[in-house]
């Protein structure tokens, strides 16, 4: 992220956001409010997942309404293995990645073939259907808690450090977020990223130029899925719990909201959007105006208000929180950080 750094509203915002996120444990310690670390770890987890989805949604124009199922796979890998006494983080990581990749290849292949005719509508519906299938599968796994979920007694053990300390988990998540950000930044300007963006822009021409577009879209889909798997593993470690609700279709929807809220087609957008949405949800559920009826309405039905907010964002705030910031002087290729 060092080369070509220019001072623009967007880059300043990005730096402030990332630095701010890095300082959370210190601030939380100073204020003696450990809750903030929990809240912001959750934000980091979803920012990571949203980053993953952003690869195919923001840069590939593939609207997947089922990416939460990959978070579920990551979470269940931790949960199920821990349940059987395997608490080695590396083993859990390996299992999660293998299962995640296998599912993503199968689901991706079926879903992406429907995009051949050019319509993206079927893709949205089918990804949603598959996520629902995984949800029902998890519910039916009564040996692992089914609908009630599965508690995880011990956090993943990576040998090098202990995740028992909330701050360690926080910084692990933070480090992964930065690593994925860097990886994505390089990827989208590399050959692979150019193919993906070309497919978003004009897939017909990409094929006519000689690109077998399906395999690149599939690879992108698998990569984005694996990032979500990673996020799911972190989530299970954070909550020490896994349940089918992690794969609810509403979670997939919220990931999309985070990306659009932050700014579609940008790299920091998903991080900004995840932060904004989760903070908003937190604020709404505990907001007190002093008017009992209003407080009750907001605290109990904040999800409905979020719903209206989403409609508002789509109809009015089209470019998002971060995306709406000026990108500075127009560059040759207008894709800023």
């Amino acid at each position: 992220m060092a080369s070509g750094f220019t001072l623009t509203p967007r880059s300043v915002f990005a730096v402030l956001l990332l630095v701010g996120l890095g300082l959370v444990p210190l601030i939380s310690g100073a204020l003696a409010q450990p809750f903030y670390v929990t809240l912001f770890t959750r934000i980091l987890v979803f920012a990571l997942a949203a980053l993953g989805l952003n690869l195919i949604l923001g840069y590939g124009a593939l609207v997947s309404f089922g990416h939460a199922m990959y978070m579920g796979i990551g979470a269940y890998a931790v949960g199920i293995l821990a349940h059987h006494g395997v608490t080695n983080g590396w083993a859990q990581l390996g299992a999660a990645m293998v299962v995640g990749a296998a599912v993503a290849l199968a689901v991706g292949l079926i879903c992406l073939r429907t995009t051949r005719e050019g319509g993206g509508m079927a893709f949205i519906m089918i990804t949603l259907a598959f996520a629902q299938m995984m949800f029902f599968l998890a519910v039916s796994l009564r040996a692992y808690g089914g609908d009630d979920g599965l508690p995880i007694s011990v956090r993943s053990d990576f040998g090098l450090f202990s995740l028992q300390d909330p701050n360690t988990l926080y910084y692990l998540s933070y480090a992964l977020l930065l690593a994925v950000l860097l990886g994505m930044r390089r990827l989208i300007d590399a050959r692979f990223g150019m193919v993906l963006r070309g497919c978003k822009s004009n897939e017909r021409r990409m094929a006519a130029l000689g690109f077998p577009t399906l395999r690149y879209k599939l690879a992108a889909y698998v990569i984005s899925a694996l990032v979500c798997v990673l996020a799911g593993m972190l989530l299970a470690n954070l909550t020490r719990f896994v349940s089918p609700s992690y794969m609810a279709w509403t979670v997939s929807g919220e990931l999309i909201v985070m990306i659009v809220l932050g700014g579609l087609g940008t790299l920091i957008g998903p991080v900004a959007g995840a932060t904004a949405l989760l903070l908003l949800e937190e604020v709404l559920s505990s907001l007190k105006f002093g008017l009992p009826w209003l407080d009750k309405l907001i605290n109990q039905h904040w999800l409905g208000l979020i719903g209206l907010f989403i409609v508002f964002v789509v109809l009015v705030m089209k470019r998002g929180v971060y995306g709406g910031l000026p990108a500075g002087p127009p560059t040759a290729k207008g894709r800023p950080k």
């Binding site: 079926i110 519906m125 259907a129 039916s140 929807g253 409905g304 719903g307 409609v311 109809l315 089209k318």
Partner: protein, 307 residues
């Protein structure tokens, strides 16, 4: 496994299929003609059920009152939602449509929870249909049989409208080539509103009929919506025929699968394994079916031919 049991489950499958068809037919037209991903269809179904229950309980357990409240009520609600929030999205891309309708789902789910509370609301099967009828020599709940009958009649009526009337011809043309229809000077906005209202009415009807036999509660629309999406994708987007056959296939496979697959697995596999795998596979069955259809025919079973 007796033939009687199998037949009962088969009929239950048809009944589920018929409900799915009511939802799928309206929705597939919205997808096909207006190129609009409308996820609020499940919410309209839910509102239909709630309106029906409200009418039923307000008017001294009258099913007729329930029907009179539910169907026009849902159509009106659909009309209002379309004009206020959705009409601006017709020209936007699918992502915006998905997001906005998703937001509306969250909103509607909270509204019903705020008005009627989180617990299920009840309405009973109408008195006249509370008994059983004799089908192929076995007793079958009269109400469920009524649902099948109504659904098939609606299907027939839809077929006649779509294939024998001028409006229907415009709808079919719109599904095949919306730009051309618009270019020919047909009031495409009016056609869109008509299709949307028709879909809303069908959703309301489905909600009304499902009211007595399902749990009427917040969030009931989404599982049905996703099933409906499976039907539409399997049958072919924009195709009423696809919606009909797709709905019946999905309804029957899902019902029969859930009823008999665990039992079937126990014949072949060790008890504990069958116990664990049975319900799991049964719940995944229709999605696997959808995957199989898409693997062989990505456009669905009865795709609309685009001009």
């Amino acid at each position: 496994m007796t033939t009687g049991l199998f037949l009962t489950q088969l009929l239950n499958g048809v009944q589920l299929g018929v409900l799915l068809f009511l939802l799928a037919s309206g929705l597939t037209l919205v997808f096909g003609i207006m190129n609009f991903v409308n996820l609020t269809h499940g919410s309209l179904y839910m509102m239909g059920a709630y309106f029906a229950a409200a009418g039923y309980n307000a008017f001294d357990s009258s099913f007729l009152a329930a029907a009179l409240v539910a169907i026009p009520g849902t159509m009106l609600l659909g009309f209002v939602v379309e004009r206020l929030a959705l009409a601006t999205l017709y020209t936007r891309d699918h992502l915006d449509q998905v997001l906005a309708t998703f937001g509306l789902i969250l909103f509607f789910n909270e509204v019903v929870r705020a008005i009627w509370g989180p617990a299920s609301v009840y309405m009973n099967v109408p008195q006249a249909l509370s008994g059983t009828v004799s089908l192929f020599g076995l007793p079958y709940p009269a109400y469920r049989f009524a649902i099948i009958t109504v659904g098939l009649l609606v299907g027939l009526a839809l077929y006649l409208v779509i294939h024998r009337t001028r409006v229907g011809m415009l709808i079919r043309a719109g599904a095949s080539n919306p730009q051309m229809v618009s270019a020919l000077g047909v009031d495409i906005k009016g056609l869109n509103s008509l299709v949307f209202a028709l879909g809303a009415g069908l959703a309301g009807l489905a909600g009304l009929m499902a009211g007595p036999i399902v749990s009427v509660q917040s969030g009931m629309g989404e599982p049905i919506l996703i099933l409906t999406l499976v039907v539409i994708v399997t049958g072919g987007i924009g195709s009423i025929r696809g919606a009909f056959y797709g709905a019946l296939i999905v309804g029957i496979v899902d019902t029969i699968g859930r009823a008999f697959l665990p039992m079937l697995l126990r014949e072949f596999l060790e008890r504990s394994v069958a116990q664990a795998m049975g319900p799991a596979i049964a719940s995944m069955l229709i999605y696997l079916l959808m995957a199989a259809v898409l693997a062989l025919r990505p456009q669905g079973l009865f795709p609309v031919r685009h001009g």
